[in-house]
């Protein structure tokens, strides 16, 4: 009886579904890594600037998008303004809303580190404002150039 029980137990173990499939089982292991990146775009191209009613400021607006899948920073390079020859004193400014603003023609401005994942859409605001006693911008064409840089850390 004991021998029969032992043989039956062995047969049950050998013929059970688990035993049958054991030989065909496969360990599935999926691995991968997502590359860190950031994107920043000026979605509208060149930004037109129009004079204010008090003739003291040229201003324009655009839209930017910033996307990052990990810690990142955004900087605006030193501004490069061009004004009519002999223009009265003025001050340029370029701002990415909620990120960073630069008013300098010599220094870079940088945002705090944007931690984690980010997807931000915001306004680009550009201005050239008078900075003279008459509070007027000289007549003529002005331009403002800069580079917005995002850095995936």
């Amino acid at each position: 009886m004991n021998t029969k029980t032992a043989i039956a137990s062995a047969l049950i173990l050998l013929c059970s579904p688990a035993a049958s499939f054991a030989g065909t089982s496969v360990d599935i292991q999926a691995t991968g890594s997502s590359p860190a990146f950031c994107d920043i775009s000026n979605t509208g191209g060149p930004i037109s600037m129009a004079i204010s009613t008090d003739k003291a400021t040229l201003s324009g607006a655009g839209t930017y998008q910033f996307l990052a899948n990990g810690d990142a920073k955004v900087t605006i390079s030193a501004l490069t303004p061009v004004a009519p020859q002999g223009a009265a004193a003025y001050s340029p400014s370029l701002s990415l809303a909620n990120l960073v603003t630069n008013t300098s023609t010599t220094a870079i401005a940088d945002s705090p580190t944007q931690a984690g994942t980010n997807r931000i859409t915001g306004a680009i605001t550009t201005t050239i404002s008078q900075n003279n006693s008459l509070q007027l911008l000289s007549a003529g064409s002005y331009s403002l150039a800069a580079t917005a840089t995002c850095t995936a850390l």
Binding site: A36, F37, P46, I128, S143, A146, T147, T151
Partner: protein, 142 residues
């Protein structure tokens, strides 16, 4: 597998039209003061655009790119026209005498075309041109 993840990342960034640099690793070993860095560049604008790739060195702050490097950099082509949503594979050979782990930055620059409309009659007008650049930091390890 890596290509799938890059494509997924590109799709995830779908709404953004910016240029992107994808580095497969964050650290690269220097051998004989030289590192070979494989990377890919893409953008998702609506039409082919010119992209310029440049390498920036370290600055006093490890989170901020330093000056654009012109020496010790071998990267061909560094400027090219790229169709939307295409991955451009590139190889950078970078020479460095760094004796400690040092951050470098690989950047893709897009400058929007200027279509300036001159206004006559002394009118006061202007325009602003904001170029955009996406950088990825990597480390060279002696």
């Amino acid at each position: 597998m890596k290509r799938c993840f890059l494509l997924l990342a590109l799709l995830w960034s779908g709404q953004v039209s910016a240029q992107t640099v994808y580095l497969e690793k964050k650290e690269f070993a220097l051998r004989n003061q030289t590192a070979r860095i494989k990377f890919q560049v893409s953008h998702s604008r609506s039409e082919p655009v010119n992209i310029t790739v440049r390498v920036k060195g370290p600055s006093s702050d490890p989170t901020k790119p330093g000056a654009v490097l012109t020496e010790g950099v071998r990267l061909t082509p560094s400027s090219f026209k790229l169709a939307p949503n295409k991955m451009k594979k590139l190889l950078l050979t970078l020479t460095s005498t760094a004796s400690a782990k040092t951050p470098y930055f690989l950047c893709a620059l897009y400058i929007p075309p200027v279509e300036r409309k001159e206004q006559g009659g002394g009118a006061t007008s202007g325009f602003a041109l904001l170029a955009t650049e996406s950088c990825s930091r990597f480390w060279l390890v002696p």
